[in-house]
Structures are given as structure tokens and as C-alpha cells.
Amino acid sequence: MNPSGQQQFRLPGRGSRIGAKSVRFTFDNKPYEALEGDTLASALLANGVHLMGRSFKYHRPRGVLAAGVEEPNALMQISRDNARTTPNVRASVQEVYDGLQAQSQNRFPTLNFDIGGVNNLLSPFFAAGFYYKTFKWPAAAWDKIYEPFIRRAAGLGQAPTEDDPDRYSNRFAHCDVLIIGGGAAGLMAAKLAAKKKQTIIICDENPHFGGWLLSDTDIRIDGKAGPDWAADTITELAAMNNVRLLNRTTGIGYFQQNMVVLNQRITEHQSKPESGDARERMWQVRAGKVIIAQGAIERHMVFPDNDRPGIMQASAAQSFLNKFGVAVGSQVAVYTACDTAYAAAFDLAEEGIDIPIIVEHRTDIADDLLAQASELGIRVITGAVVEGTGGKLRINSVTFAKQNGNDRETIEVDALITSAGWTPSLHLYSQSRGKPQWDEDTQRFLPGESPQECVSIGACNGTDDLSDIFAEAAKCTGSRAPRHAIEDDVSTMSGFIGATGTSADKGKAFVDFQNDVTAKDIALAVREGMHSIEHVKRYTTNGMATDQGKLSNMHGLAIASKLLKKPIPAVGLTTFRAPYTPTTFGSFVGHSRGRLFDPIRQTPIHDWAVENGAEFEPVSQWRRAWYFPRSGEDMHQAVDRECQTVRSVAGVFDASTLGKIEVVGPDAAAFMNIIYTNGWDKLKPGRAKYGIMCREDGFIYDDGVVGKLSNNRFHVTTTTGGAPRVLNHMEDFLQTEFPDMRVWLTSTSEQWATIAVQGPKARQIIEPLITGVTISNEKFPHMSVVECNVCGVPARLFRISFTGELGFEINVPADYGRAVWEAVWERAEPLGACVYGTEAMHVMRAEKGYIIVGQDTDGTVTPYDAGLSWAIAKAKPDFVGKRGLQRPDLMAQGRRQLVGLATKDPSKVLEEGAQIVADPTCPVPMKMIGFVTSSYWSGTLGKSVALALIEDGTNLIGKSLYAPMADEVIEVEVTGTVFYDTKGERLHG
């Protein structure tokens, strides 16, 4: 040991997981050296730094407690740069890399001197549940004063403030056997299963496989030291192509039907990650069989002032020593109720570290342990308790006594290691919906029956003995028990649960370190009537910190159980929630970020619109050209120009996003009769019709023009957003209600690019491009459809209009969409026509009173309400929605009906969504009789136009109503829905 320089607590030649190369890192801006392979915690301890964090509520100084994922105290902010900063990283897990920057959290101004520490002095007020009892006076102060204060004090690290530049990825995987945990149990299971030619995935959350074998120097398997046996086994497995080894990979969640989600960390330990490498990868594994070999987690002892830096788990001290060659102190006391702590003490003593005392809570200790202690000159006091500790930013003394309070003694130490026994990790077993069973003998929960194809082996199954573990591995893989020469000082892993100490009133005996939950808090919760463990948890927040109760849950349960005088299983066990350890959002999101969040669908004509300056609007998954501003135009001016140009000359519009469904078969018309409210028997091939479909409840579901191509074939169009659900709706009725109909449905939405040409000169524009048919008004009247060629391409040409003008819609196979569009535009532009977008389309259809499903209807509107009673074939014996429409409320008088509204001041444009009242002087809450569904400025008409759903609207035509706005009341007159060309003559031009 070199007490003056860097890494003064590093023990040369010790540590199976570290290399010789040194790396540099900073903690709170101070530079330190570490060795390759160190965790941040082992590196800081090597440098004699124990103070690593502050607690959540009381801001108490804290050191590292554990060497693994259960660490509650040593949480840090790790940053590569401003964007790559991560809060709440466990120093016991983070591997050190050259250049790593770590900052302590939840302290101001510094970790050594934290003003928040005043909370510790106020802690008598801040007992469990104090929030609920206070901060209520005066009422307004909660939001303004108390809550902001509480929020600032809580919260640990800082969220990043920039977008994360790193990549994350996902992999769906399938295997015969998934093994979670690569300790002795998992490795042996993998070895045996692999021989059976099964496909295997084995993962371990640590950088190295081996589990506890890496921390225990006493184990020999076939004469090999634990780490060597693990390394050889890995080499063997890695050579087999049916085995996938995933280190730094945590089984975070066990879902239905043996789907287990693994989180793999790929670059977090690298100084300079390869660009392109994902930071993390999520594995969604569907396994034939799952073998859980997660191990067990050592519990700390609960006693007064058990949280000073320098106090840690015995197993952590042993891991720091044997994996990293780090001594956790020079005078290390031990407080234990479990045999395993002796191994830690002996390992430390053998390195020459002073072990002044083992305070043994139990009275009956195995003779060989006592003998070995005595051999090493270690004093053991049995039946004893630690009553308290001294020190501020580091422990400097420990006070212990016999359980009856006799023989009190205080000695100087710089570390105290404790063990209360081991808790089998049941997290994944429980998530698989297994019910943990209480084992009274060993005072622990163990896996019970497995509801899924899964088995727990090793320490997580409560098995301590290595040869027993290997036998379990053999059994669960259907193999013969392997023969191995095993040397292991088997020690039982059971211990003590609950709080110890004779003078419980002095000091704080922490159960949950991070959330500052003490044994007294648990007692208070019980006293206040919190008798379910879920109540205790929620009232005290025990087990709700970032370690999710891995250390605290059993202690909390035992304390409550004792006070309630109920057996532990009767108090209950809180549910184990995924994820097993906190898991980056990014790894859940994986590839689905930015442009991959959701497909952005674009039409074949999209690029042309981009090149011609269109603004776009998102419509369901699509981007649609909204309007085409010319230089200097705002939206209003562009839309105005587009509308007036269409009405006076013509316009070209990309309607490709409309849904299209081919309905084909001998029973096609009969099927259409069922799906639509309209009748389809009389429609002749070559003709088209506007159709309405309802749900069974009678409300409008979708609409669109349908062309009849032949007796057996309809070309159905749907709304843009409605296409998938309409097809599903049709398939549902076809497959399940009318399976005997010979009809087939095929989506052709994307087969066709649809180019609408509308306006007085529409025919003139397209006529020369068309071959095979005559499109005169006589030969090809309004509501016609024909198959022909356009620009030499097979096309479906419709004569339809959504503007009220003479109109055509050209459907060409999508690859030809852009070329045909350009050919149309080449003819249209010289004639003074324009291209127009969805906004102008909306204005023009509103001028004509044509509805948009979803805007002028909202799922509570019937065809009658929308003024579409003419589209209902009442004589049909059946159609979807027929019975629903007959329900009393749907037939009632005075329902909201679609009407037009004319503002008294024609220049006033109503707001869409504005509510309409009959009496604007009525006090709030006002009686609203309807609302504006569509409203636009009509440049063509020189006034505003609006559609509205108004109670009994058709009977109110000519009457005045009011739209009360925030700052004015707008008077309107109820009108019909058609504002432009009320006779509809222009359609037939």
C-alpha cells in the first residue's frame, strides 16, 4: 500500500478482473488514476475515496455499499459531452474508461459540504408520510412555495438537455434455451444444453462471465480456480455456433409466453466508441425454455447510523479485493449474521488488513469459522450488536455490545463490512407470473411453481452448494449429473432479516438508503395503520428508489411483520416490477427515432410538389401538399388564388392518398348493398356514385366515390385516413357475416396515382392526353368512369368533382404518376390553370357543402344529420347501420343537423370549433346548440362560408344565432349548406 500517492489502497498482484494498464478519469473534476477493468467504485476506493453521493431526502453523506447493480448510494452523473450525459449511474457498475468524467449528485455546492444536509437536522419533522400531514396551510402555498421546494430538494441527477446523438438497436431473437446469469449455475447449464445441439443464449449483466466465482478465491473446480474455470468454459462455449454469449447484458423483463427482454450495453465502457456502434441493444428473446440463474443479493445489516461512508456489504469488500485488488480500508470491522462475511474478513486479513472485530449477531457459530478467525488473530464477539458508528464523511468508529447491552465498546475503524444474509433474486421468476413461496427454515422467499416454461437454478433458487448447483443445471437441461471435483467452503447464505440494535431510538437505522427510510419509519407506518406491505412501501417509499428494493424489501417486510405480529407471508411481498435494473429509454425505442418513429408516406407526385414550393400538412401517416405559395404569398393569399383560379380556369390536385379498394366478384353488388347505406343494384357499369358507410350503430364511418367498372368489379374510394380501417371493416363483414358471398377485396390505394383536374378548362387540359375514349359531356357525363389510356398509360378516368366544377380524376399506375402529372401540368399551365393543395380543396368543397368525414362529422353524426338522407336506400332489407339508425335517440327530433352559417358581417370568418348559442346573454354555463365544423374565407364569393352542426338546424334556416367568442359575439344566419352554384350547373359543363 502506498498511502501517499495515487491508488494507495490498491494491492499489487491482487484482483482477477483488472489489467496493468492505467487509465485516467475525473470525479467532481479532480483527476484520478485507475486500472483497466476497474469499476468507478473500485477505482475511487483504490484512491481512498469513500464519499460518493448524498441521499435523497436528508442529503446524508454516503459511500458505496455494494459492488453490483443493487448499489443505492454511489450514483453519479457520467458525461462524455453535453449531449451524452447520464444521471444516476451506479459507480459499482460503470466501468472506468480513459477520460471518464463523473460528477456527484444531489448536493450543493459540493459533495463534502452540502447545504441540503440541513434536511438531516430537520429530519425529526420529515418522518415517513410527513408530506401528507403538512404543507396544507395556507391552501395556495402548496403550489407556490412548498412543492417547488420539495421538488428542488429531491431528484438526484440532471436530465440531459440535448438530443441524444447515440444510436440504439433492437434484435428479435429465438432460441431453445435462454440462460439468464453466467455464474457457476448458468455456465454449467449452458455447457450441458449446448451439448444437446440446442440453440442457446446466455447473458450476464457483468463485463465478465463467472458471477461469484470471480469474487471467491477459495473455490476450485477440477483443480482450477473459479475465474479460470469460468474463462475456460467461456472459451469452450464461444467456439460452438449454437451458443450466443452476451455479456454486459441484463435480463430486464419477463413477459408473456417466454418472451424475455435483455438489455445489452455495448459502448458504455469504451473510451472512444466506434462510430456507428449502437450504445445499447435490446434483445427481445422468445425462448423455448428459460433458465434463471440470477444469483442472490447480500443484505446489509440494519442498525443505527449504518449509512456512513466506509460501511458496506461484506461481499462488496470481498469483490473489491478479489476482483479489483482494492482494500476497502485499513481497519475493517465486521458486523454479520451470516457465515459468508467470514470469508470476506479472512480474505482481507490474509492481505494484512487489520480486522479488529467481528461483531456476530448470532450466538451459535460454526466452530471452524471461529477457529479460523482465531488463527488469523481476529476477535469475534457473538450474540452482539452494533449500536452505532462515528464519523462524518467517513466512518471512524464503531460501537458494539452484547445484545443485552453489556460489554459496550467503541473502537476506531475506517471501514465496517456487514452481512445479514442473502436474498435470492426472484425478480424474473416473479415477472413470469410465478408466486414466490416462503421458506420458514431459511427465512427467505424461493421460487415456487413456474407458470411458464422456466426453471430457477443456483443461488436464486436458494441453492448454496456448488455440487448441488451443478446437479440442478444437469437436471434442468435433461443431462446426466456432471462429475467435477469441487473444493468449496460451503457456507449457508441465510442470515437475519429486520433491524438490530439495543438502543433503537438513537441514530437512524437505514432500511432503504437512497430514499432515507429507517426502521422507525416502517414502525411509524405500521402504527398509522399501514398493514399491507404495499401500504408500508407507498407510505415510507421503502423499496421505491433506483435500486427497487433489492436490499431493503426483505428488511422492511420483516420489521413490519414483527410489529404486526403476523408471519412474513401474511404481510405480503411487493410485486417485482420490470425492469430488473433501470434501463435507458433509448434502448426501448431502438430504431424508432426521428424519421423512423413512424413511416412518413408520400405520393408519387410528392417530389414534384417539393420542387414547386408546396407547404405540406400531415394527414394520418401521409404528408399532403397543403398549398403552393408563390413568392411573397402567405397561406391565405395562396389559397385564395388557387380557389379562384380553379373556379375561373382550372386546377390540378394530387388526390393519390385517397384509399382505394377493388371490390370484385359475382356478389360484389350485393356486398356493396350491405356495406353502404346506398343502393347499388341500379348502378350501371361505367357510372360512379357517392357512397356513405355507417358502423352498425348508424353513425357515419366513411364516404367516397365508387366507380362500377363492370358488373362484378367496383373501384371504391375511401378517405385518406380511413383506408385501412374501412378495408378491415369490409373484411370483417365479408369473412364473418357473409362468408358465402363470392367477393374479394384488394387494396389498390398505392397502385394508382390520382390526379384531379377541376375547373371549366379541365376537359380542354386533359382531352389531348387521352386515347381510347371520348370525354365529351354527352359521352362521358358527370359521375362516369372509364378505362382508357392517358399519356399512353392504362388509366381509370373518373368524371367526378369535389369542387363543384367540371372535374376529372385520372388514375394511372403509380410509377407513371409523376410523368402523367407533368404532362397534365404542361397543358394546364399555359392555359392559366394552377396546382392546388388540400386547403383550397377544403375551401371549395365547403363552398359546395360537401362534407369531410371526421371534420363535419365526428362519430356521433348520422347520414340524416349530415343532410345525406338521399344516400340511404331505405327500402333495402339490410345494411350495416340500418338497425342502429332506428334507435330512439337517433330518430329523435331536434338532433344536431348540418347547415350553413352566414356571418352577418360577411368579412368575419368564424373559427372552426366555435360554439353556437341561441341566446348570447345567457350566463355561463351557456346552453350550446351546436358548433362550427368548417369555416373559410371564400375569395370567390367575397364572404365567409361555414358549415355547422346545429340542433334542429334545418328548421332554423333564416334565423339568427350567435357565436360567443372570447372578446366578441358574432351573429350568424342559418343557411343551406350550398353557398356556390346552388343549382349545381357547373358540374355539367
Binding site: 378491415n728 373484411e731 370483417d732 369473412q735 364473418t736 340500418k882 334507435r887 330512439p888
Partner: protein, 100 residues
């Protein structure tokens, strides 16, 4: 994500390929107009919603496209049986047998 056996594909497929389509064996009568309002309510709105064995419809929408029926336990979420659309509702005795 469940794994669902599609009776048309005769294989297990991931849930992401399917859409749940609600309660199974709701009869849409031939002459809907004769239904009372109460009967319509029962058909369109009222649902068994059992805590236990549920007879439900699925559509293999991103697979073979077919609607089919399944018997699933709503506490364990386990499928007990799948069968093609139009096949008769399994008898209570058969369902009880499946539960074993």
C-alpha cells in the same frame, strides 16, 4: 407480446401480426329490423368481459388476413384453443376440459 396460433397458417405467429377483434359468437341476425332496442344494445354494446375463459376474435391482419376465434384465459392470458371463423362455439364441457 403474445404468441398466437393461427388456425389458417397452422403455426404460431407473434402478436404484432394480429389485431384483436372483440368478443366472439355475437350473432348478427338476418333480419336486424326486427330486433328490439334491448336486443340491439345486447348485440352491439353489452359484453361478457369475463374474468376467466374468454371467447374472442382475432384477425391475422398482417399475416394471412383471416378472422378466427380463440379461447383465452383473461387472467393467465393463455390460449386454450383457436378455431376458424364459422366453426361452432365449443361446448361448455369442452371448454371445461381445456381448462384442465
Amino acid at each position: 407480446m403474445l404468441v398466437i396460433h393461427c388456425p389458417y397458417c397452422q403455426a404460431e405467429r407473434p402478436e404484432l401480426e394480429f389485431a384483436n377483434a372483440g368478443e366472439a359468437h355475437i350473432v348478427r341476425p338476418n333480419n336486424m329490423s326486427d330486433m328490439t332496442d334491448a336486443e340491439f344494445e345486447k348485440m352491439f354494446f353489452v359484453r361478457e368481459n369475463p374474468k376467466g375463459v374468454n371467447l374472442e376474435r382475432w384477425r391475422h391482419i398482417h399475416g394471412c388476413g383471416r378472422f378466427f376465434n380463440a379461447i383465452r384465459h383473461t387472467v393467465s392470458d393463455k390460449f386454450l384453443k383457436v378455431y376458424k371463423a364459422g366453426a361452432p362455439r365449443p361446448s361448455d364441457a369442452e371448454i371445461a376440459e381445456l381448462m384442465k
